[in-house]
């Protein structure tokens, strides 16, 4: 199939109506297949494991003509700055990073949100140094929570593929228009092969229309052409502080406005299994898959356990989680990081959070065998219930 003469379709058509075929591919290849159909104008890369494979594959898409412009930056900070430049000029941008690369580029992420740039970025999460590690760990998600970007957490390659395809239209909506980060647990998903239903290659998403941006994009042909986001900090007066505060509030408001559009495309912010069980596990990413196995094992031993899968971290589905956990007697939160960011988020939105069990947690690249979760279930099981 040639990159030319592809039919432009809506996100809804792409997700819910277009023909699909099942393929066996890695998570990184799923990223490539999503971006192949996303009508991306420009992708900028700086390789860091395990993101390196995904961005290499996007380079292949450039060679095949599916991405209009592609180059490698000097480092992650440069890449994220260059991506911002492209978005300010009104083109559809894509990049990816992870772990130490995320931290090196960090200053750019709140800047992206503050400049209302609809950038889609992949985070194939990995451990933060030191000691040096290139292994899976979701700790960078804790650090990105208040940067003003939307955060979706994929459990598997299929979800990763679909989340990329839906993210552009959400990021580019006038009332939202902020960056979207698609998170996936590095290696566990990026480097393993799974069955993924991909849309046939004859379609691509409609292009981005920057004329609908909530801020002026750089356009030397149309006044006001000056990029008018001058920093307020140059002025020390009440007005500059009030304007800056209101600007920050507006970015947070944009996250709230994304809820109906996200819900329409995702179907729901959370998914539930065994909602009436007295013990509930709440998890995101691959911790969900491990929890499913643990729940099966617990059932064999006569213990009923429920599962709440969280798909969006920002916006955080507080009300949905509050309702889903309203009858839970014990709440277990397995996580692939040391700090327990999901447990903290859940604890902040539910009543009686002494019901929560902090963990189990693994990090630094460790796997989480289901029996580690089963052990915690058993410790908290209310036998006879």
């Amino acid at each position: 199939m040639s990159a030319k003469n592809l039919k432009e379709v809506s996100t809804e058509y792409m997700l819910f109506e277009a023909k699909r075929e099942e393929q066996f591919m890695t998570g990184s290849e799923a990223v490539r297949e999503a971006i192949r159909r996303a009508n991306v104008d420009m992708a900028i890369a700086y390789p860091i494991t395990p993101q390196s494979e995904s961005m290499h594959l996007i380079g292949d898409l450039y060679a095949e003509g599916y991405v209009k412009e592609y180059f490698r930056g000097e480092n992650e900070f440069a890449v994220m700055s260059q991506v911002a430049g492209g978005a300010m000029a009104g083109v559809r941008m894509f990049t990816a990073t992870c772990g130490p690369g995320t931290l090196r580029a960090f200053e750019n992420f709140p800047m992206w949100a503050g400049a209302r740039l609809p950038i889609v970025i992949g985070f194939m999460t990995r451990a933060i140094n030191a000691p040096l590690s290139i292994q899976p760990d979701t700790i960078e998600m804790a650090m990105l929570m208040d940067t003003g970007m939307l955060m979706l957490h994929a459990e598997n390659a299929q979800e990763l593929y679909d989340m990329y395809l839906m993210s552009f239209s959400i990021a580019e909506r006038t009332s939202v228009h902020i960056p979207v980060g698609i998170f996936v647990d590095g290696f566990f998903v990026t480097h393993t092969r799974q069955k993924v239903k991909v849309v046939t290659e004859d379609v691509k998403l409609k292009p981005y229309d920057p004329s609908m941006s909530p801020t002026p994009h750089i356009d030397m042909e149309t006044p006001p052409f000056r990029y008018m986001k001058d920093p307020f900090v140059m002025k020390s007066n009440y007005v500059s502080y009030a304007a800056h505060a209101s600007w920050q509030q507006e970015c947070m408001a944009s996250i709230e406005r994304s809820r109906p559009f996200l819900k329409e495309l995702l179907g729901s912010f959370i998914e539930q299994q065994n909602p009436d069980a007295p013990i509930q596990i709440i998890a995101s990413g691959t911790a969900v898959s491990q929890s499913r196995e643990a729940i099966k094992m617990a059932k064999e031993e006569g213990i009923e356990v429920g599962l709440i899968k969280v798909k969006t971290i920002r916006p955080f589905p507080a009300e949905e989680i509050r309702q889903a956990l309203s009858k839970a007697e014990k709440i277990i939160v397995p996580e692939f990081n040391r700090v327990g960011w999901l447990a903290k988020e859940v604890a902040s939105v539910i009543p009686n959070n002494d019901r929560m069990v902090q963990g189990p947690r693994v990090f630094g690249g460790m796997t989480m065998p289901p029996d580690v979760i089963v052990k915690v279930i058993k410790e908290n099981a209310l036998f006879g219930v």
């Binding site: 006001p224 986001k229 209101s246 947070m252």
Partner: protein
């Protein structure tokens, strides 16, 4: 706690963003009054009443009106002038968004980073935003709501504004014509 209402100010030192208080944008074909979703015609009638009842009604056309040269944009400009003339409103442009303090002349333009100056200086009691980029409009509307008693109206070409007291969405030239007709009709009935 009751539902948050986007009421005429002054609300206080740093009002919250309405969206963070649970106010959602109205869907296609609908509009908003004080954060409530209403029929578009109801909001148009509310705007007409507010404009005709105001002492110093003022239109603030932004760059999306001022700098466009298409026939459609020119017609839009003429409609704004017509409505303004019909209700006796001032027109104060917002040509760009640079933070121009403290040198702004509030008599001749409004700056989104400190709209209070213009409102206070001109004693504006009803302000209508049109053609202002959505981010900048929300910023200014919230600052006005926080610090002044000006009643704000957003005639948005996109999805509308929670920060305005009354907000229309997808405000095309037909909608402006409806507003003009509603104003004329209301004036006639009042006469």
């Amino acid at each position: 706690m009751g539902a948050y209402q986007v009421l005429q100010g002054p609300e206080g030192y740093l009002p919250p963003a309405a969206a963070m208080q649970g106010v959602t944008l109205a869907g296609p074909g609908k509009a908003m009054i004080e954060g409530r979703h209403v029929e578009k015609q109801e909001a148009i009638e509310c705007i007409a009443e507010k404009l005709l009842g105001a002492t110093v009604p003022t239109f603030f056309p932004g760059p999306l009106v001022l700098w466009r040269t298409t026939d459609y944009a020119q017609e839009r400009g003429k409609l704004i002038r017509e409505i303004s003339a019909e209700v006796g409103a001032k027109v104060i442009p917002m040509p760009d968004y640079r933070p121009k303090y403290p040198m702004i002349n509030p008599e001749v333009e409004i700056n989104p980073n400190h709209p209070n100056l213009t409102i206070w200086f001109n004693k504006i009691d009803v302000g209508v935003f049109i053609g202002v980029h959505c981010h900048q409009a929300n910023l200014a509307l919230k600052i006005i709501r926080g610090g002044t008693s000006c009643f704000t109206v957003a005639l948005c070409a996109e999805e509308g504004h929670e920060e305005a007291n009354v907000s229309l969405r997808e405000t095309d030239n037909d909608t402006l014509r409806k507003l003009l007709a509603t104003v004329k009709d209301l004036k006639k009935r009042r006469a």
